[in-house]
Symmetry: C2
Subunit: 416 residues, 2 copies
């Protein structure tokens, strides 16, 4: 039986507890949606003020050199690289995750076309975040060269699908809905044993779990900076390419930022001889600059410590849901094994949508995902053990009193 006092005790022993003071969160809110939009670092406004007033307003175009705007994608990439086991100059921050998937997919397919052109199968999970599938579909339709997308229904089924026809595998390291965590090194090994290349989507794992892209022998990775990394709404995404593949193929979104000598204004594209070739057009400097505020907080600790607290919090959340909310029809869909659990907990309930709305009305902000999934994100930098206690008490109250049945929690948002 876990008690509130026990949670207080864990808070008192929490070595990461002080980091919460570097974030602004509204009074009275327990924020369990940092895996959708990370919380705001307190430093963000001062950073924006410097970029807007000093760099843009005062230094004007001189900021391309003086403030290092030109180098920002690689400088920030290297900082993020420290969190994912990247070597120097293997990582850039640029564009969106979707665009970056297109780039690395084109690069990976291009490499396979040189090495093994009969490979025509791309493998992904049916339960990928949809944009990954959409980008693969758009790419295949555009090049129109007989590629086929095979969707697997369960992560465990992956090994039986990989064979000598497989060109590229696109996988989410952590599933956006269930929180299932793949064993990166093992899957890389399986893929490489059959000559396939692998693209990891790190959107729900970067800043959430330790990642060792080089240690696990990965090929390509993409991911977003506005979830666990707290980079700000829609902040530019990251892209990582193993050194051996950086110059193996030229990606087709070949804008001037990826040119070897962009200021020569040459007529023909010559890709930069490094990871810069994965850049394309001029980047949104204000949004990109803000990425640094969140990453700087991570660099004050390490991902092992973050992971340890994340597992403590997700363990606690699972146990408290079972202890406090048993018998209300909640079904855990996140793996219980630590080795396959990311940093959020998802439970299904036939009134999941309405329950999430009722929780939000009480200041417990989680997220709803089709179908029926209540998704509760765990961000160890700004969540405490008593936060988890209080969130579950709120959930219990919503379920016990059937608050979710109130009309105001029924209206779903329509996007047309």
């Amino acid at each position: 039986m876990i008690t509130y006092e026990q949670c207080q005790q864990w808070d008192a022993e929490d070595k990461l507890a002080d980091l919460k003071s570097q974030f602004d969160l509204p009074e009275g809110v327990i924020y369990l949606d940092g895996n959708s939009l990370g919380a705001k670092p307190k430093q963000a406004l001062a950073c924006a003020q410097d970029v807007i007033n000093q760099q843009w307003g005062t230094d004007l175009i001189n900021s391309w050199n003086k403030a290092g705007w030109w180098d920002l994608p690689v400088r920030l990439g290297n900082k993020i690289g420290k969190l994912v086991g990247a070597r120097e100059n293997e990582t850039v921050v640029t564009d969106t995750t979707s665009m970056n998937l297109f780039k690395v997919l084109a690069a990976a397919i291009g490499i396979q076309q040189q090495q093994d052109p009969q490979r025509k199968v791309i493998i992904a999970e049916r339960d990928s975040f949809p944009t990954d599938l959409y980008m693969i579909q758009g790419f295949m339709a555009l090049i129109n060269q007989g590629y086929q997308l095979k969707l697997i229904d369960h992560p465990h089924a992956l090994p039986e699908y990989i064979n000598e026809q497989t060109a590229v595998i696109v996988l989410s390291h952590i599933n956006y809905r269930t929180g299932y965590l793949h064993d990166m090194a093992a899957i890389n090994q399986q893929a490489h044993a059959h000559g396939a290349l692998l693209i990891w989507d790190l959107c729900h794992s970067i800043g959430a779990v330790p990642i060792d892209l080089n240690g696990s022998n990965s090929d390509f990775a993409i991911g977003c900076t506005y979830k666990y990394l707290n980079g700000g709404p829609g902040a530019p995404a990251m892209l990582w390419v193993h050194s051996q593949y950086q110059t193996a193929f030229n990606q087709p979104l070949s804008g001037w930022w990826g040119h070897a000598k962009p200021f020569d204004m040459a007529v023909n594209y010559t890709p930069a001889n490094n990871v810069r070739r994965f850049l394309c057009g001029t980047q949104p400097i204000v949004s990109m600059s803000l990425v640094e505020c969140g990453v700087n907080i991570f660099l004050q600790t390490d991902m092992q410590a973050v992971r340890q607290k994340s597992l403590q919090l997700t363990d606690l959340l699972i146990k408290l849901i079972e202890q406090e909310c048993g018998g209300f029809g909640l079904t855990l869909i996140t793996p219980r094994e630590h080795s396959h659990r990311g940093s959020h907990i998802s439970v299904r309930h036939c009134h999941g949508y309405e329950i999430v709305q009722a929780l939000i009305a009480h200041g417990v902000i989680g997220d709803y995902r089709e179908p029926e999934v209540i998704r509760l994100g765990i961000t160890p930098l700004y969540l405490s053990f008593t936060d988890i206690w209080q969130a579950v008490q709120c959930l219990k109250q919503v379920l016990e009193t059937k608050q979710w049945a109130q009309p105001q929690f029924q209206t779903r948002r329509q996007v047309t």
Copy 2:
């Protein structure tokens, strides 16, 4: 003979003069590079503060609805659309100009493949801003279907190149170097007479000259918001598609923001039935929000008034350079005819690079472009007639005293 007093008189009569108070520019600077990075609207910091503190920090993910983040690309697109003769819901703000070129090029080629698949020639100007050529090259290499890029050396040569082989023409409305302005309606007519589609790059014309995309019967347009529109460094770009082509083809950068029902999380991509299908991934909300500050200033006047003052200022600049700086080896490369003149003046000088550096040291910020080009951007919202006078006096001084020969003005920036 034009005098300083005459310039003062013109300033006194200038109906746009008051708009300058809505921009922050450093003391003592005459900013002639607003066509590279537009000046900072005073409103920008307050806007960023609202987005960062209220929308991100306080309202968190609720801002997707409450602050309208999801609709921002179309809402801003419609505001910018008023400056370019767009109908409602033909314009979006998203991604970069380079990416947007890829999208509309793919759409235009896709339409031609349906209508007239033997058309295999893409026409562009050799003197395009290079990223346009690079993106075309990347697209052609990726699809690998026998397309050919024909580069024309002079805008006047365009008509003789257009024929029944022409699939798509990509043109800068105003040339980034010379300031040459194309007759949009006439060229659209020439292209359409031969069955070709046309993509206009508006980077140096949006916010600089009146544009009537529908009135001129245009097909596709892209352009940037951080030059004349003053959207902030690297602010997301615009994309316009004529209503008749919005659903004629699906562009291949098919991310979830372009899906008909993005929150259904469907496995297969179904493009939105409107201009949203040209969206792709989650956008950088802070940088994008700032675009509105600059556009709002334009909406207080109209592009005819902006154009009138722009021509007065460029006329003045040409005349004063001739009057004050004759005999120093400057050669005007911008057309004298108003009908072919954009909103910047470029002069060549064999020491162009050094002269620009010396001018900058005096607070007259222009831009250097290969080869030998001194580029002076004219932004009527925040430049006065006496600004032009003073800039030319500074140029005269630099040339008379050969300040450009000083060692500190010789060092060129190397980008590796």
